[in-house]
Each structure stands twice: as structure tokens, then as C-alpha cells.
Amino acid sequence: MIREFNLIDVYYLLLAARWTLALTGIAFLGGGLVGMIVAVMRVSPFAPLRLASTLFVNVVQGIPLLAWLFVFFFGLPILAGVRISPWTAAIAAYAIYAGAFLGEIWRGCLQAIPRQQWEAGAALALSFGEQLYYIIVPQAIRIAVPPTVGFLVQLIKNTSLAAVIGFVELTREGQLTNAATYQPFTVYIVVAAIYFAMCFPLTQWSRRLERTLRVAR
């Protein structure tokens, strides 16, 4: 039975967009945490840490996000006999996926700071961690803003993959609405508009942040 597409559908799409935002939030938090650890390991003076983090990044980047969602949601119960909730599976998969990518982005930003800055810190008796915290990171943050926000925008759109483990987020809700109304053009225009409304302010905010960070050195 096909019904009309009306305002109540827009309302449902907006409700579903909350899941998109929630998934993005946890993915970014989890990924940020993992990413920080990965980035620091990648520039650390200890070869085993560098090696382990490089391996992690290569493995994660070589496997699609969809596969990670499957591994955690369907794979773990079979392999380890533990059933995990869609939330736990999503948190784990997105933290690993975003962690590897953010780790690589941030490593690049840390390495963009001239080696002499590390050396000047070392010559003043600062430890590796202190050089990182007081000298390198404050300078790297400014260059890290645009690529990080760029990735965040990607992440918002990639949350649609969580539909495969049962999340009815924006894209999935769009599919369901389309199935009921059979008005794909209207439905997906609205879906696209909602995605745009989430992503556009982010890029604007990123530009502003870049400017303020430049002024504050």
C-alpha cells in the first residue's frame, strides 16, 4: 500500500538523523582517543611502538568499514561466543576505523613540525612527552583542523553503514520512507538536505577556527 509523502515523514527523518549524530559522536570520540594513541606511537622514539601502530593502521585501512561492523556484530558471537549489542559493535568498529584514519592524519600534522623544534626541546632537557605536549602538539593543532573536520564530514556520511547491524539512522529511514511512499526523488532530496545541514556548518566552523588559531599563533 502506497501512501503520500508528507510532513510527518520529514519529522521521522529528522528523528532518525539523531542516530546519525549519535553514531558520529561516539565514532569521533572513540576514534579520537584511538587516533591520539596511534599518532603518538607513530612518532615515538621507540621502534616497536612505531611498528605496532604502522601495522594497525595498514590492517584497518585495508579492510572496509562495513567488514569491521560485520566482524564485531556477527563475527564475535561465532568466533568468541560473546553476543554484543549493536551499540557496542558500532562503538568498537567506528573507534578502530576512525582511529586508524585520524591517527594517520594527526601523525602527518605532528611530522609537519620541523625536527629542530623537537631538538630545541630536547636540548632544554624536556622529555619526549614534554616536547610533544608543550612544543609540537600546540603547533600541529592548527594544521590538523582542516583535515580533521574533513574526516568528520566523511564520518557523518559513513554512519549510514551502521544500518547493516540494525541502526535505523538517516539513510535507512530514507529507504524505509521510500518503500512506503514510493517517492524516491522527494525522499532522498530531504535526506540529502538533512546531511547537508549537518555537514555544512562544520566546514564553516572549521574555517573560522583556522582563522582564530592563526591569530593566536
Binding site: 631538538e119 630545541a120 630536547a122 636540548a123 632537557a125 624536556l126 608543550y134 600546540p138 603547533q139
Partner: protein, 243 residues
């Protein structure tokens, strides 16, 4: 006991031997100028003394501590051995005051008031008291280098290493930095400086070292070494730099 001892120090970068069995003693209050062609190992020798470069053979002692021993706490050592670089390497995101006080605050746990006073007195020594709240990009090259000297002095080191610190400056700015160096020398600091300023070396250094092919080729009192070189290598080098 000498302040610094180098015994048969060998430093290689891959197949390239940069320091070839270097022996050296530095006594307190000595001011040693090191000259030589680029690639002769002079900067590398300096960097080895505070452990910025590892060595492959031999031994480096600072005040009885083995610098090249893996268990040596290089952080402790570097509080006592300051180094100033050719490219200043100030921290661009920090004010002059913060540049100077970062290490005293973080490493020595100095409080705000004491740190501010430390920055003031360190800047007074290099003649930049009015620049305490400036940022590095607001300073000329010579001023940045003087701040870098003040930053190093603020750690109250027993030995200061200067690595071609005027090479990136034009002659006018070189003068103001050398003046500061002379002042530091007069205060009795033990110093070792790699330099191309032969006139300055002659005036200020208590000893002059000529390095060639990774070795200390000639050394002695600055005047004597410069007036009557014993080796053709030094003679050619002096001819090249003095004309």
C-alpha cells in the same frame, strides 16, 4: 678533572666517518673556538657532547658522567649543557617569556613569579628586556638568536655550546650577537663555539681548534694558530676565509 673529556670518539653516518678518533679536554672557563670547512665534523662534535648525536666508538665524559652511556639520564646532563643552534629554533607559538621559561617551569618546576623574574634577568643579559612579551616572528634574526641565547642561559648551564650561531645572520646582526657572546664569555662561562668569525675567535677564544676530515688537526692559542699554521691544510683554509 676536566669538565669535558672526549676519548677516541668515532661518529659515523652510515659509511661516512664524521669524527675520526677525536681526543679533547675542556677545562672550566675555557672559551674554545672551533673552525674548519663544512663537513669537517665541527658541528657534529658539538652535538655529540650533549648527546644529541649518538657516537659509535670512544667515550665522552661531562663532569665525570659518561654522556654516551645508555643509562645516563640525558635530561639531567642537558640541564647543565646548553646549546644554541644556527637556526635559533625558538618556539613560534610561545612569547619570548614563555620560550625562556618553558624548560625552567617544566623541568625545574619553577613558579610564575620566579619564572618571570628569570626571563627578565636573562633578557637583560642579552639586551632585550623590552621584548619580553613579543613573539618570535616580531623579532629580527639577531634578536631571535639573542633570545635563544637567553633561553639557554636561563637553565644556568655549566657549559654552553654555540653551533654556528651567526651563520644565518647578515653582518650587521652578526655584530649584536657576537657582542652578547663576548659578554657571556666575560662572565666566566665555559664555552665552545663553532664559528666562521675568525676575528671574533682571535679576540675572545682562549683556545682555537682547527678540524679537518673528522680530526682535530691543529689547536693552540688563537693568535699562534692563526699567525703560524703548522699544516698546509690550515694555511689553505685560512687563506680561503681571510680573503
Amino acid at each position: 678533572m676536566s669538565l669535558v673529556e672526549l676519548d677516541g670518539v668515532v661518529k659515523r653516518f652510515g659509511d661516512l666517518t664524521v669524527l675520526d678518533r677525536v681526543d679533547l679536554r675542556i677545562e672550566p672557563r675555557e672559551i674554545i673556538a672551533v673552525i674548519g670547512r663544512s663537513g669537517s665534523g665541527k658541528s657534529t662534535m658539538l652535538r655529540c657532547i650533549n648527546g644529541l648525536e649518538p657516537i659509535q666508538e670512544g667515550r665522552i665524559l661531562f663532569d665525570g658522567i659518561t654522556v654516551n652511556d645508555p643509562i645516563t639520564d640525558l635530561r639531567k646532563l642537558r640541564q647543565r649543557v646548553g646549546i644554541v643552534f644556527q637556526s635559533y629554533n625558538l618556539f613560534p607559538h610561545l612569547s619570548v617569556e614563555r620560550n625562556i621559561t618553558l624548560a625552567p617551569r617544566v623541568v625545574k618546576g619553577m613558579k610564575d613569579d620566579a619564572a618571570r623574574r628569570l626571563a627578565e634577568s636573562a633578557l637583560a643579559r642579552v639586551g632585550l628586556a623590552d621584548k619580553i612579551d613579543a613573539y618570535p616572528d616580531e623579532l629580527s634574526g639577531g634578536q631571535q638568536q639573542r633570545v635563544a641565547i637567553a633561553r639557554s642561559l636561563a637553565m644556568q648551564p655549566q657549559l654552553m655550546l654555540f653551533d654556528e650561531i651567526t651563520s644565518a645572520l647578515d653582518p650587521e646582526l652578526t655584530g649584536e650577537v657576537l657582542k652578547v657572546l663576548e659578554q657571556v664569555a666575560r662572565e666566566g662561562m665555559t664555552m665552545m663555539l663553532v664559528t666562521h668569525e675568525i676575528g671574533f675567535a682571535r679576540r675572545v677564544a682562549t683556545r682555537l681548534i682547527f678540524m679537518h676530515q673528522g680530526r682535530i688537526w691543529e689547536q693552540g692559542r688563537a693568535n699562534e694558530v692563526l699567525e703560524s699554521p703548522r699544516t698546509p691544510e690550515l694555511a689553505t683554509f685560512l687563506e680561503a676565509v681571510l680573503h
